[in-house]
Symmetry: C2
Subunit: 330 residues, 2 copies
Amino acid sequence: MPTIEDVAAAARVSKTTVSHVLSGKRPVAAATQAKVRRVIEELGFRPSALARGLTSARSHTVALMVPDVTNPFYPALARGLQDAVRDAGLLVLLADVGNSGAQERAFLIEAIERRVDGLVLSSFQLTPADLEPAVRAGLDIISVGPQLAGARADVVSADDHQIGADAVDHLADRGHTRIATIAGPAEAQPGAGRLEGFRKQMKARGLRVPESRVVEADFTRAGGRVAMERLLKARTRPTAVVCANDLMAIGALDAARAAGLDVPGDLAVIGVDDIDAAALVSPALTTVRVPAREIGHAAGRLLVDRIDGALPAARRTVLVAHDLIQRETT
Amino acid sequence: MPTIEDVAAAARVSKTTVSHVLSGKRPVAAATQAKVRRVIEELGFRPSALARGLTSARSHTVALMVPDVTNPFYPALARGLQDAVRDAGLLVLLADVGNSGAQERAFLIEAIERRVDGLVLSSFQLTPADLEPAVRAGLDIISVGPQLAGARADVVSADDHQIGADAVDHLADRGHTRIATIAGPAEAQPGAGRLEGFRKQMKARGLRVPESRVVEADFTRAGGRVAMERLLKARTRPTAVVCANDLMAIGALDAARAAGLDVPGDLAVIGVDDIDAAALVSPALTTVRVPAREIGHAAGRLLVDRIDGALPAARRTVLVAHDLIQRETT
DNA sequence: TCAATTGCGCAAACCGGTTTGCTGAGTCCT
DNA sequence: AGGACTCAGCAAACCGGTTTGCGCAATTGA
C-alpha cells in the first residue's frame, strides 16, 4: 500500500500538502490539487484510518453487543442502528456474546482498546459497575433496555413494565383468570420488567399469581417449549400464558400442540416482539410489537449526538411505543 | 486515557519495558513485571489498538458485507463467522449494503482504509474487477457464493446448481410437469446458479420451461408474493413452483392463499435456505436446507488460515452440503 | 516606496504504540 | 585474570497520518 509520503514524493510536494488536499483544512492551489489528486489516483492511495485515528483518538466505529444475533429482534435493531450512524461516518462492530458475562466483559475491554466511539449494548449480565472502565475511557454508552440506567448510560427501550401490563389486560379482558407467564432468565432485563408489569397488573385486576404459574426460561424457542411443558403439568392448568418474547411463545405453541391442546380454545398465548415468524406460525401469534428497528435507530441518533457533544451531560431515557397485535392465539 | 508513557513514568521504567511486559517478546525481571502490572492496574491503562495496528498494519478486524441482515440467513452466517474468527482475536465489522452497488463499493473502500484483515462478502452487484483495489491492498477475500470466484477470492458456497436440480427432482418425482420458478434478481448470484440448475434438470427430465414460468423477484417475502401472483395469471397454471429462497416461498404461499389455492393440492411450493420461519408457516414449507452457520464458520476458518499465511496462493472453493427437507408444501 | 496582508507550501512535532541495536552488570569458562 | 555470554533495560527510530508555526512571494494599502 502506498503511503501519504509516497504520494507526496511522486507529486513533488510535502505530505502536509497532500493531507490538506484530502482534508481541505487549508487552501491548496488548484494546480497543485489537480496534480496531487492525479497521483493519488494513479497510485491507488487510500489513507490509513488507523493512522488517522491515532491523532484524532477516534475510530469512527460503534460497537453493538447483543446476546443472540439469530434472534430476529437483533438484526432488525442492528439495521436501524447502522442506518442511523452511517451518515455520520460510523461503522458497526458486531459482537454476539451469548449469555456469557465473561464474554460481555471481554468484549467491553476489546471495545475500549479499539477506541470505539460509542457502544450500544443489550446486556443481560452486565452491571453498572462493569461499565466503569468504558465510561472512564470516554465511550458514550447506550443501553437497550433499562438495566444499565443511571449516570453512566443513556437508555433506549420499550416500556417493558407497560408491555407486561398490557398483555395481562388483553387476556383478562377476554375473561381469563388463570394466567401464567413464561419469563426470561432472572438476570435478563427485559424479562424482569415485563414480569414486574405482569405481576402488578394481575394484582390490580384482582387476579392471583401462584408461583407455580411463573416459570423462567432462556429466550429461545426450546426454552419456551420446556417451560410450557412444566406449566401444563400443574393440577389446575392456566388458560392463558404471557411469554416474554415471541420465540418462547412459539415454543409454548409447540408444547401445546404436543399436548393436544387447542389454541386459543384450551390455551391462549401471547408473545412480545412481533418478529416475522409471529405472523407465520399457525395459529398466528398474538403479540406485543416492539419496534426493534426503531430502537436501533433511536440509539444510533442518540449516540451520534452524544459523540458530537451536542447533548447536555444528563443521561436520557427514550421509550419507544409498543402496540398489541391481535392474531389468532388469543 | 493513560498512555504507555504514563505507565512507564509511574513505574519508573522505559516504555520499551512496559511494551515487553505486555507482549512478552523479551524477558523482563519478575520484580519489574510486578511493578509495571500494578501500575497498569492502578491507572486502568488499556493499550490503543489503533497505535498497535499502525505498526503491525493489522486491525484484527474482518468485514462482513451482506445484502440484508434481516434475512435470517445472514445472522446465522454472521454467527458462524464470528465464532470461527474470535479465537484468532478478530472482531466482525458488519455492513448491510442492501442491493445497492454504490453502497457495496463504498463499503469496500471503507474496509480498505480501515486496513481490515479480511473480507467476507455476499454480494449481488460486485464484479471481480471491483475487488481489484482490495486485492492490491492485500485483503484476503472470501466470497459467499461463487459469483466472485477467480484468482482474487476464495469461495465458500452451497452448490446452487445442484440445489436447483434437487428441487426439480423432488417435484418431478412427485409427478409434477408444469413446474415454475421464482428466481432471484438476475444480478444476484445464488439465484442465478439455482435457476441454471433448475433449467438444466428440467431439460434432463424432458420438461419444458416456457419463459412465462420463470419470474424474477428480489429475495423478500413481498417479492415472492408479487411474483407468484404473476405466475398464477397464466392460462395454464403451474402445479409447482421452485423458489430461490424461503422468504420468497413464504410470499408465494401468501399469494396462493389469497387466490384460494390448496397447498400442496393445487400448488406445490419448495424454498431454499431453511430459515426458522420455514418450519413455522402453515402448511410447513418444504425446503432445501443451506447451512448458513456452517458457511460462515467455514469462511472464518479459511480466512484465518489465509491471514496467517498458512495457505498456498491458489484460491480455494469450499462447497457445503445441502439437504432437502420435506414438510407439507409438496 | 515601504509596511502590512494574503496565499501557498514546507519542516517538524505529535499521536501511542512496537522494534532494533546497544550498554552495563553479572556469570561462566578457560 | 581475561574473554565470551546472558540478562535486563534504555534510547531512538519507525508506523502513517494530522497539526502547528513559519517563511517566501505576490498583492494590497497608505
